[in-house]
């Protein structure tokens, strides 16, 4: 188990589809012009248009592109969780996502390791609930 208390994001209308997806335990990505794009935007970065922007549910499978074991972070939610793993995960469908790798010995994590998404639901002080995607070693 990770004991990170994730500071919860504030969704904008551009990212609502993503965060609504995570609350259903789905990793929702955008695709247009044969490009998978993350982070989500209101437009496709290739055609600068919204009309053909498609949302799809990713498998949640990926590989670790790179990572670090954070031993020091004074920020609230992380100070007591050190050491924790911060990583970029290359998703099976394309694009890359920053996340934590949880439920493992941080020093067992390696570049290229296969991982699978899971969702950590937390409540924000304003009672809004958010689920944050993290990954576990497969």
């Amino acid at each position: 188990m990770s004991n990170i208390e994730h500071p919860l994001p504030h969704a904008s209308f551009e990212s609502l589809g993503y965060w609504e997806g995570t609350s259903r335990s789905e990793l929702v990505l955008q695709r247009c012009c044969q490009i998978v794009q993350h982070r989500p935007r209101a437009i496709c970065v290739n055609c600068l248009d919204a009309s053909n922007l498609e949302y799809f549910i990713a498998s949640g499978k990926g590989k670790i592109y790179t990572f670090t074991v954070t031993e020091q972070n004074q920020a609230k939610g992380f100070a007591k969780a050190c050491p924790y793993v911060l990583a970029y995960v290359d998703l099976e469908e394309g694009s890359r996502i920053l996340a934590n790798i949880v439920d493992c010995d941080p020093y067992e994590v390696s570049i290229g390791a296969e991982v699978m998404v899971k969702f950590v639901a937390q409540e924000r002080p304003d009672a809004e609930s958010f689920a944050v995607p993290v990954f576990t070693l497969s």
């Binding site: 504030h10 993350h38 790179t66 074991v69 954070t70 992380f78 970029y88 996340a99 934590n100 570049i111």
Partner: protein, 390 residues
Amino acid sequence: MTGNQFPNNIAIAGVYEHESRFSPDKTEFQIMAECAKGALDDSGLTLADVDGLFGASMTMGMMGIVDLAEYLNIRPTHIDGSNIGGSSFVSHVSHAAAAINAGLCDVALVLYGSTAASNAMAIGTGGSSGSRNPETAFTVPYGMTTVGSYAMYANLHMDKYGTTSEQLAEIAVTMRHHASLNPLAKMRSPITVDDVLSSRLISSPLHLLDCCIISDGGGAVIVTSLERARDLRSKPIQILGCGEAVQHQGVGDTDLLTIAAKQSGNQAFTMAGLSRADIDLAMIYDSFTITVLATLENLGFCKAGEGGNFVTDGNIGLNGTLPVNPDGGGLSSNHPGMRGIFLVIEAVKQLRGECGDRQLSNPETALAHGTGGTIGDKHSGATLILGVTQ
């Protein structure tokens, strides 16, 4: 502008590095004003001559450059408060050169001041405890620190090229040796590779001594026409080329190991009409040891993946083929939050031959490269190439 020759009529006429490393009794603007006086005295100009004002800081707000003009009680004809992180001041110098060349101002004053240390700012290992900014909604939940972002770059470089922690440590050891020759440097006691490796891990693979220090401080640079600079007090240092670039995560498809320095460096070298071998001194923003290695590779001083051997083969020492940061850099001399201005100041002082025990033997060309932001997330790069006048 890429590929064009830089206007050959602009020079740096004055520089000043604030001597303090801890100034709990001063404000940012006060430090900037003291630096302005230092650089004006260095050049022989006065505040009344300044008609271009450039500056940025960790705390200046949206109209901060206007606040600064009021504090100094000046009414310049050209202002530029652009803030692209620690590289801002390197880019301010090139913006100033362009503005002078275009006739928008005659004497540009570039300023930085900071009380990062006396305010006990946790610059590298904190500050991500929440944000309403949608730009950070995909990083803030995961606790990405500044050092963590650079550490992810380092791990990737190690995995791809076999770069080692010992090689990174050699950079910290070299910077500390340089600092030992700099009377103003904050950390002057020699260290060894073992000292770096046995210092505690902050974010793997980076140890405490792989990280820059935090200090107070500030600096000033005065840019004017070469013609005017020739009549002033100090030896003019000509601006030969410049470049700016950004690197970011795109749509999640970026090669993390390619940093902004690659684009900005190529542009600056093309403008200057110089090759890498022509550079006598490199001032490289050393927020972390890995930043130096990444920047040297991306600027083309060695091939991608060869940075580890380059820094351990003695190249970056004072007697090396490419001396890096003779002042001791941010790793050992000073790092008041945004370090770009000191890259320019030390380059100018070295080219003038004013650096005492750490003075290089008659350098004629210098490169300064600033990185702003973090190379594992998004960042700016600004490169300047400077030279003594003929």
